[in-house]
């Protein structure tokens, strides 16, 4: 075979027993990353809405951060899809000629609707701050400040009214948008679950529970990532301030707030219980009904993927952090460990759904093993390899760093 002829999937698929000739692991690591990142977006938004809509005041600080962080995560939810497409230059086509019987066709519409909601909500929350900055930077010398002021002028979009009635409208609008955002966020992610759950050809994926399981685990992962990033940023800021010594007032040297962490942990645990219950229900139901596909599913779940599913996902990713968060005397360090494990657990869940769903042949007579490309030697092995996945995972933090320069989500002097 000539070296430039590459069959998509052949690079990382190892077949065992009888597998149809055209079967390969076509949906690889980027399709694991796609629901994972979408889940983080949705989860982050739901966490922020707990404050904005349901008035959970003690979540105020993390809510503001979550909202901005969900904006940073948003473009990254589409990135894995773009990296996965065999024809990425045609990525706009689902918007141009959407074929609405396909779950993917709605992606562009749901995704942009959701994006507009997040951006508008942030604008209403931060408009007062933008106006203040335009006024403040007027008095500051230097080209940098002048340029920054221009950015803020654009961000205000000409709305300089910061009177009480105007701010009250801002506040109400943010609340309304947050309320609309919750179902849209759930829809955004629920339909990611639908993409898998509706594939009748795939015995592991096909389940009406799939969208609900995806939403629950999305909220779990979103809350966990927001809590983790919040703790890391607040603690590192406090650490740096402490090191400089003396220059700051003691009140400013504050790390992560204990109450915020406790409250968010309670929500996290609630959603975690819901997610695991649904997954267990799905598993028990499959075993009990024992349809034609059960033999091969059982051999994959209890055999080939046992470590991935029962050790890494359920034990290390669900049970251990559940105990770590629930047992009394929780410390910040223990919480951090638990949160990392929760994130890992949700990632493994996505992995076990996407890769696990392709671990067996449609003939039910053979298996396929996925070997993720580590060292890339072509664009394809980069895009659909470890480094492609790491690029996707790192991008939201870079975006957050940039966005946070203009929309400070972690400063306590910014009121909402």
């Amino acid at each position: 075979m000539s070296p430039d002829i590459v069959v998509h999937g052949a690079e990382w698929t190892v077949k065992e027993l009888f597998v149809y000739p055209n079967e390969f692991i076509y949906w690889s690591i980027q399709i694991v990353m796609y629901p994972y990142m979408t889940g983080l977006v949705a989860g982050a938004f739901v966490l922020s809405s707990l404050y904005h809509v349901f008035g959970q005041k003690d979540l105020k600080e993390i809510a503001q951060f979550s909202l901005v962080f969900s904006l940073a995560l948003l473009p990254v939810a589409a990135l894995p899809l773009l990296l996965h497409l065999q024809q990425p230059t045609r990525a706009i086509e689902p918007l141009l000629t959407p074929h609405f019987t396909s779950a993917i066709a709605a992606f562009g519409i749901v995704f942009s609707t959701y994006g507009l909601i997040v951006v508008s909500e942030i604008w209403f929350v931060y408009r007062q701050y933008f106006v203040q900055q335009v006024e403040f930077l007027k008095t500051q010398p230097g080209l940098g400040n002048a340029m920054k002021r221009q950015v803020y002028r654009v961000l205000t979009m000409g709305a300089y009214d910061v009177s009480q009635p105007a701010l009250a409208i801002d506040h109400r609008m943010a609340k309304i948008l947050a309320a609309i955002g919750i179902p849209v966020a759930c829809f955004l992610h629920g339909y990611a679950g639908f993409i898998f759950g509706s594939v009748k050809a795939n015995a592991l994926w096909m389940s009406p529970l799939m969208p609900v399981i995806f939403i629950m685990s999305a909220v779990v992962s979103g809350i966990a990532l927001c809590m983790l990033t919040y703790i890391v940023i607040m603690e590192s800021q406090a650490f740096l301030k402490r090191r400089r010594g003396g220059a700051l007032q003691a009140t400013e040297i504050r790390g992560a707030e204990k109450e915020i962490i406790s409250k968010a942990t309670r929500y996290l645990l609630g959603f975690l219980v819901a997610a695991i219950s649904l997954e267990m229900l799905d598993l028990i139901f499959r075993g009990y009904t024992a349809m034609k596909s059960w033999d091969i599913l059982r051999s994959v779940m209890y055999g080939k993927d046992f470590i991935n599913i029962f050790v890494l996902q359920y034990t290390l990713g669900n049970l251990v952090p559940f105990l770590l968060l629930l047992l009394p005397g929780r410390t910040l360090k223990r919480t951090v460990v638990a949160l990392i494990l929760v994130l890992f657990g949700v990632f493994m869940m996505r992995w076990n759904v996407v890769i696990g769903g392709q671990a067996f042949s449609l003939s039910f007579s053979g298996y396929m093993h996925y070997h993720i490309p580590i060292i890339p030697h072509s664009i394809e092995t980069f895009k659909e390899g470890l480094f492609g996945a790491l690029t996707v995972a790192a991008t939201p933090f870079v975006l957050f760093w940039i966005i946070n320069k203009f929309v400070p989500s972690l400063r306590r002097d910014v009121s909402t």
Binding site: M1, S2, I5, V6, V7, H8, G9, A10, L17, F18, Y20, P21, N22, E23, F24, Y26, W27, L81, H84, L85, Q86, Q87, R90, A91, E93, P94, L96, T97, P98, H99, T101, S102, A103, I104, A105, F107, I195, S198, V199, K200, A201, N202, K292, S361, L362, S363, F364, S365
Partner: protein, 258 residues
Amino acid sequence: MSCSRRDFLKQSVAGAVAAAAVPAACTVIFLEPGEAEAAVEGKKLRWTFLVDTTKCVGCGFCVDACKTENEIPYDAPVSRTWVERYVVTKDGQTHIDSPNAGRDGYTTGEIRGETIDPADIDKAFFVPKLCNQCDNPPCVQVCPVGATFQTEDGVVLVDRDWCIGCGYCVMACPYGVRFFHPITKTAEKCTFCYHRITEGLQAACVQACPFGARQMGNMEDPDDPVTKIIMTERVQVLKDEYGTKPSVFYLGLDERVR
């Protein structure tokens, strides 16, 4: 006027001969595909495929012809059609393989590195596979851009200029017939050789089969010999449980066929 495709082919040949003598008869062979279609079956056409597994000897000529005709890289491990070998041994085990999609023919008794003693074999047979051109195609349902579509005569095609390469159709097909073309990087599948059948030719695999294990016909024509077999004999389709309503029918299908 109603006549079978076979009659039409005969008439076309006759017409071509006549054309040499009577220029007016030339119109018969210079019809556009759509016009030819209309002329064939009084405008009603629904392509169907019949695989007689009892006639298949596993020579692989069909796979070879398909790869060449449809420009699927010859040595790439993907194919629009393939032939599976089933060997059922006395211990009740089913051994299945399809090396190189069966392209090179089955010439040894070795299955995936294991040689089976002929004395241990209860039964063995070959099953040719291709796109089932489902009446209710899941691949068409899931295509987000409408790049894959169903023609009026029941064939599912892919528009290579519009496919975004998301792979959803590949995942949605219960028969595993779809793959990505290694050169065009778009979804690829058997088209029943649509470019040939609409010109009055046989599909490449049908033409290449020396034993008549593969045949095509028009389901809308009750006089079509293939339709007659499907309507009068005990035929089966693959994976009926998915509700896809395949247009490919099988004779002599074993319950072990996957």
